[in-house]
C-alpha cells in the first residue's frame, strides 16, 4: 500500500494525479500521432476513465497482477508500465514492450505484473483467474485484478470464470468498467439489469457499483475487495461507472450516443475532480503545474524515443513463435 493511502492524503493524491495525467497525455499524444497517420492499425482510447484504472492500481502492490483489455493503455500506465516502451510498441518498433509483435491492444510488462491487454473482449477474464489460481497454488499472497468492460460481462466466459473463482475462493477482483457502451450498443438495450455488479448475488460474492470518475472512491472500493481476496475469502465484483470520451476507436465519431453523454462525462472529469480536491487540501497550484510539465516532458520524450527507434528486422518475423524448435515448427 502506498504511504498515506488509508486516508488518501496529499502525497497519495499527488501520485494519483500524476498517473492520471500520464495516461491522459500519453493518449492525447497517441491520438495526435494516429490522426497524422504516424501510427498504423487502430487505437482504443481510455480517456475519461483514468480514475478507474489509477484508483484500482493504487490499491495493489507491485507484486499483484492485472489483465487488461483492448482499451488498455490506462491500466498498463496505472500499474507502472513505461510510457516510452509503450509508445514504441504503438509505433510497432523493436524497442516496444512486445518488439512490435503486439501493438496497442497487447501491452505486457510481466515484471510489473501486467499480464497483458487483450484484443478479445472478455479474453483476459479467465487468464486473470488462472493467475489468481497460480497465486493460491504457490501460496503467495498476490491478488489479480481482471479489468473488463460492461459489454464483456455479457460473454459466457464471464459467468464460467466468476463461478469457478467464487467456488474456489481465488484471490481475484473482477473490475467492470461500465462506460455504458459496447462499441455502439448502449448497455441497457442488451442487458436486463440496472448494474453489472448486481450479478455478484448469483455467485454469492460481494458486488458494488461506484463512481468511477472519483479516484478516491474507486481506491476505497477496490482496497476492500483486494483485502478480502488477499485474506483468502475469494473474489468480488467492483463496477466503476465511467465515461468513454472518445468513440469505440480513435476516429469513431460516436454518432450512436446522445450529446448529453459526453457533456455529462466531461462535467465529472476525473482529473479535474482530483485537482479540485487537491487544491482544497492545500496543495499549491504550482505543484500541480509542475506535475503537468514533468509529464508533458516525459510524453514528448516517449514520442521521440518511439519515433527514432528502429523497426523490427523483417528477417526476424518468425522470432518468438515457439520457445523450442522454433524454425521447424514455423516453416513446416
Amino acid at each position: 500500500m502506498k504511504k498515506g493511502a488509508e486516508k488518501c492524503d496529499a502525497q497519495w493524491y499527488l501520485e494519483a494525479y500524476t498517473r492520471m495525467v500520464r495516461i491522459r497525455d500519453f493518449e492525447t499524444k497517441a491520438a495526435d500521432c494516429f490522426t497524422k497517420s504516424e501510427l498504423a492499425g487502430n487505437i482504443h482510447l481510455y480517456m475519461g476513465e483514468e480514475a478507474s484504472g489509477v484508483g484500482t492500481c493504487l490499491a495493489l502492490k507491485d507484486t499483484d497482477y492485472i489483465t487488461s483489455t483492448h482499451r488498455g493503455h490506462g491500466h498498463c500506465i496505472a500499474k507502472g508500465a513505461k510510457t516510452d516502451k509503450m509508445m514504441a510498441e504503438l509505433f510497432g518498433k523493436e524497442t516496444g514492450y512486445c518488439k512490435g509483435r503486439g501493438g496497442s491492444m497487447h501491452i505486457v510488462d510481466v515484471q510489473k505484473g501486467i499480464l497483458g491487454a487483450n484484443g478479445i473482449v472478455a479474453g483476459g477474464i479467465a487468464l486473470a483467474a488462472g493467475s489468481a489460481m497460480a497465486s493460491q497454488y504457490k501460496g503467495e499472497d498476490s491478488v489479480t485484478v481482471a479489468f473488463f468492460g460492461d459489454a464483456a460481462s455479457n460473454q459466457g466466459v464471464f459467468h464460467e470464470t466468476v463461478n469457478m473463482a467464487a467456488t474456489w475462493k481465488l484471490p481475484i477482483v473482477f473490475l467492470i468498467e461500465n462506460n455504458q457502451y459496447g462499441v455502439s450498443t448502449e448497455i441497457h438495450r442488451v442487458t436486463n439489469t440496472d448494474t453489472m455488479a448486481v450479478r455478484a448475488q448469483a455467485y454469492n460474492i460481494p458486488g458494488v457499483t461506484v463512481d468511477g470518475t472519483d479516484v478516491e472512491v474507486v481506491y476505497h472500493a477496490v482496497s476492500e475487495a483486494v483485502a478480502r481476496a488477499r485474506k483468502g475469502d475469494g473474489p468480488s465484483i467492483v463496477e466503476t461507472m465511467v465515461y468513454r470520451y472518445q468513440g469505440h476507436y480513435c476516429g469513431d465519431p460516436a454518432v450512436y450516443r446522445p450529446k448529453e453523454y459526453l457533456a455529462e462525462g466531461k462535467s465529472k472529469d476525473p482529473i479535474d475532480k482530483a485537482k479540485k480536491k487537491m487544491l482544497k487540501m492545500g496543495i499549491k497550484e504550482s505543484e500541480i503545474d509542475a506535475i503537468d510539465a514533468k509529464i508533458a516532458q516525459e510524453i514528448e520524450g516517449a514520442y521521440q524515443f518511439a519515433k527514432n527507434s528502429p523497426d523490427p528486422d523483417p528477417a526476424a518475423v518468425i522470432d518468438y513463435m515457439y520457445s523450442s524448435d522454433n524454425e521447424r515448427s514455423v516453416l513446416r
Binding site: L115, A126, L127, Y322, S324
Partner: protein, 324 residues
Amino acid sequence: MKTSISKAIGQALHEEMVRDENVFILGEDMGVMGNVFGITRGFRDEFGAKRVIDTPISESGFTGIAVGAAMRGLRPVVEWMYDDFITVCLDPVMNQAAKLRYMTGGQITIPVVFRAPIGAGRRNAGQHSQCLEALFTHIPGLKVVCPSTAADAKGLLKAAIRDDDPVVFLEHKLLYAKQEEIPDGEYIIPLGKADVKRPGKDVTIITWSRQVYFALEAAQTLAAEGIDAEVLDLRTLVPLDWDAVRESVCKTHNVVIVEEGVKRGGVGAELSAQITEDLFDELDAPVGRVAGMNVVSPFSPVLEDAEFPHPEDIVAGVKKTLGR
C-alpha cells in the same frame, strides 16, 4: 512390460506430477471419478484436490484459467473430455495460448498441455467422434501430437508436459484399451520425431494415431501381393519431422497419406502439397490420399464404417497410386 495405452498415459502424468510440483491436471470428472476412461483413477487421493481439479462443465473458463496459470509458471495439463468440445473453448487456445508468446515479444511462455480423446468407431455420432488435428495444425503457435502406441504415448506426453509451448495432445479413444509393451523405467520421446513402424521399399504410407495400425494391417496384405510398404508414423504433426518424410520418399518414390479426419483441408492435404512442392522430382506418381469423407460421423455402425478409412481402403489407395 505390457500395459494399456490409457495406463501408459496415466503413468506419464503420474511421473511428471511426482517429478514437478508445478504440474497439475484439471478437467471434467478427472478427480473423484478418475476420468471417463479411468486414466487418472487414484490421482486425487494421492495428489489431493489442489493438483487434481474437477472443473464444472465450463470448458472455456477452465481452459482459460489453465492458460493464465501457465503464464504464471505453472504447468497445467488440461483434459477436454472429447476433442469435439474445442468448439466451446477455442478462444483461450487459439487467440490466447497460441499467440501470447509471439504477441508479447517472448515475454510470456505458456507451458500448457491440452489432452483430448479423438476419433470415430465408437458409434458416438458426429459430436463425439471427430479427428480435429488439422484444425490445430492450422493455428500457428501450437504443437500437435498424435501418438499411436503405448510406448510413444508415454514418452511423448512426458515431453509435452516439459515443453514450454502449448501442446495439443490427441489420443485415439479406440487405442486406450490396447495392451502393448513399453520400456521399463523413465524415458522421453522428443516432440517432432517420426518413427518408421514398418520399413519397406516400394511405397511410403505416412500416417499417425489409430490409422498406423490400419496401415500396418494393409502393409501385410500388400506384402502378400509383392508390394513392400513402409509405414511412417509421424507421431508429432507440429513440429513435423520433414527429414524423416524426405528420407522415406527418396527411398520409395511413392507416397500415400492416410488420415482418419476429413479429407478436405486435412493434414494430408498440407503434407501432399509440401511433398509435391519440394520432392516432385522424387515422385513416380502423384501423392495419394486415403482419408475420412467430408461427412459428419454417422451413428449407424454401417454408415460410420463407410465414412473413415479401414485397412482395405488403404490397400486400394496404395494400389491406385502404384497403378497396380
